[in-house]
C-alpha cells in the first residue's frame, strides 16, 4: 500500500510539471528518479517529451500510435515511435498487450503500412532505456515506453485510460529484470 502511494505521488508530480520547463529539464542521463522495484511484475509506463501537451491516452489511441496508424499529435507534431530491440521484455509486453501481435506480425504490419503509405515512418529502435529517455528528451513528438524504475524527470509519463501506473487496474506490466 505504501509503495503504491509513493509511486502514485511521484508519477503525479512528474505529470504536473509545467510544460514551459521542458527546455530547462535536466540532462536525460541523470539517475532514475524512482528506485528500482524488486518485486514483480513492474509497471511499464508510456512516456512522451515533456513539451508534449498530452497527459492521457486511451488504450485504443495507444494501440493506434504503436501500430503506426496515428502519425500526428493534436498539436500537429509528428509522432515518432520509439521501441526497444526485439526480444526485450518491454517490447514483448507492448507487442502482446498493446499491439496484440508478435514480432513477425508487427514487422509485416509496418512493411505493409510503409509500402501503402498508411504509415509514415517506422519505429526508432533504441537498445537501452537511457537511449530511449534521451531520444524522447530530444524529439518533441516522440513516444516510447520504459520500466517505471527507468523513468526520470527528463520525460513525461502519460496515463492510460485515466489510470496511473501504480493503479491496480493499470494494464501494462513487465517482468522484473531479475526474472529475465
Amino acid at each position: 500500500m505504501l509503495r503504491r502511494l509513493t509511486t502514485s505521488l511521484i508519477v503525479l508530480a512528474l505529470a504536473a510539471s509545467p510544460q514551459a520547463d521542458a527546455g530547462r529539464a535536466p540532462a536525460p542521463n541523470a539517475a532514475p528518479l524512482l528506485a528500482q522495484q524488486s518485486s514483480t511484475p513492474e509497471p511499464l509506463v508510456i512516456v512522451v517529451n515533456r513539451s508534449n501537451p498530452v497527459d492521457d491516452l486511451s488504450f485504443a489511441e495507444l494501440r493506434r500510435i504503436f501500430l503506426g496508424n496515428r502519425s500526428y499529435w493534436a498539436n500537429g507534431r509528428r509522432i515518432t515511435l520509439v521501441m526497444r530491440d526485439p526480444g526485450e521484455p518491454e517490447r514483448k509486453t507492448i507487442l502482446r498487450d498493446v499491439c496484440g501481435m508478435n514480432e513477425d506480425q508487427l514487422k509485416t504490419h509496418f512493411l505493409h503500412g510503409l509500402y501503402t503509405g498508411e504509415i509514415l515512418v517506422s519505429p526508432k529502435i533504441l537498445s537501452t532505456p537511457t537511449g530511449v529517455r534521451k531520444f524522447i528528451f530530444n524529439v518533441p513528438g516522440a513516444i516510447g515506453y520504459l520500466r517505471i524504475s527507468d523513468v526520470d524527470n527528463t520525460v513525461k509519463v502519460v496515463r492510460i485510460d485515466e489510470v496511473l501506473p501504480d493503479d491496480r487496474t493499470y494494464k501494462l506490466h513487465v517482468q522484473s529484470q531479475a526474472a529475465n
Partner: protein, 503 residues
Amino acid sequence: MSRVRRPTKVTKLLKFAFNRRSTYFVPFSDRLLSAASRHNAALLLFLVCCGVAVIGAIVIRDLQAANAETERMYASSVSGLQRIGELQYYAQETRRATLYALTTSDSNLQVEYADQTRNADQRVKDGIAEYGSQTKQPEETALANRLSRDWANYLGVRDEVLASILEGSTKEAVSLDLSGGVPAFDRVRQDLNEVKRLYGEDASRNLANLVASSRRSTWRLVGIHSFTLLLSGAAVWAIQRSRMLSAIQLAKLQMEFVASVSHELRTPLAVLNSAADNIADGLIEGKEALQKYGAILQHQSRSMGHLVDEILLFASTEDGTKRYVLQPLQVSTIIDSVVASTEGLIQRAGFVLDRHIEPDLPPVMGDVSGIAQCLHNLIGNAVKYSGDHRRIALRASTTPLEHGSGQEIRISIVDWGMGIDSSELGRIFDPFYRSPRVQAAQIHGTGLGLSLAKRIAESMGGRLSVLSEPSVGSTFTLHLQIAKGDDMQTATAAFRPSPSSHV
C-alpha cells in the same frame, strides 16, 4: 712606567685629550665628523647596510608590483583569451556533433551525438555566463548579452535540427540547418571574434602598462643606486675629512700641551737656573743664604718632579697599566697620613684645615696610595682655588647609598673659594681642562688633577662628585665602598703604606 716616556704613549694621551676636549670646543659639524672618525668603519657599514636595505625593499616592492601586474594581466587577458578559445571550441563542438548525427541512421548513435552536442552547448552557456559576469565596460556587457542571445537563437534552431534528425527527417534537418542554423551560428562566431578582439585590445593595453611600469621601476632603481653611491661617497668624504680634522686638531693640541707643560716647567727651571747662576757666580755668601737657596732648589725640583709624576700617572691610568690593590683600610689612618703629607703645603699657604671625622667609621675598600693621591689632589686644588678664604674642611662620614640599599664612606674636601660655574661642572673632570676664569686669574696647573682623582676613585670602585657655587665654594666628595665580612676583620692587619705613596 718607562713605557710612559715613549712618544706613542704621549700620542695616545694627546688623542684622548683631543677627543675629550673637542667635544666641548669644536663646532657641531666637526664634532660630528670627529664622532665619525671614531666609528668610521661601523658608520660606513651602517650607511651601506641602510642603502642596501632600502634598495632591497624597493626592488622587492617593485618586483611584487610587477608580479601582481603580470598576474592581473594573465588573469584578465591571457586566461580570458584562453576562455574565448574554449568557447569557440565548444561552440564548434556543439555544431559538429549535431552535424555528425546527420551522418548516421542508427538511432543509438544519433542519441549519442545529441548527448555530445548538449554537453558542449552547456559548456558554451557556462562560458558566456562567466564572461558576462566579468565584464566591466558597457561595450563588453552589451557584447555578452548579444552573444548570449545569439547562442540561444542558434540552440533553438539546433534543437529543431536535432529533432528532425532523430525523427529521421534528414532532408528537413539539412534544410533547417542551412536556412537557420548556419546564419545563427555565424552570428555566434562573429560575436566570439568580437569578444576575442576586445580581450586582445585589453591584453595590449595591459602589456603597455606593464612595459611602462617596468621602465619606471628601472629608472627608480637607477635613481636609488645613484643616491646610494652619492651617500657612500659622502660618508667616505666625511670620514676622510674627520680624519683630517683629527690630525689637524691633534697637532694643535700637541702644541698646546707642549706649551702648557713647558710653561709649567719653565717657572721652576728659571728659578733653578737663576739660583744656580747666583751660586756659580759666587753671589751667595754665608751659610744662611746657601740654606735658603738649597731650599728653593729643593722645592722647585720637587715641583718639577711632581708635575712629571702627575703626567706619568695620568698616562698609566689612561692605558690601564695602573692597577690598585683593594683592601680594607681604616679611614682615620689614611686621613692622618694625607693631612701629614699636605701639612706643609697648607701651612705655607696660610690655610687652616678643619677635620670632621665621624667616630668609629668602618673600614673602606681601597688602595692606600690611590686614596692618598686622590685626597692630595683635592686638597691641593682647594688651596689653589680658595683665594682669600684661607680655610679648608675635611669631613668623613658614613652615608646611605643614593641608589640601592646599604651605606658608603664619604670623604669631602670643602673650600669657600671662587667656586665653579654650573656650565663648567661637566667639564672639570676632563683631562687638561682648565676653566677660562682660572686661566684669566693666572692660576697655573696642568688640568690633570681632578681627572686623575676621578679615575683613581673609579678604579677603586668608588666615585668622585662635586657640589659648587661660584663665589661660595666647592665640595669635592670621594665615595668609597665599605669593607664587608671577613675584609673588616683583617682591616687593620692589611694596612701597609705603599712605598710610592705621597703620604
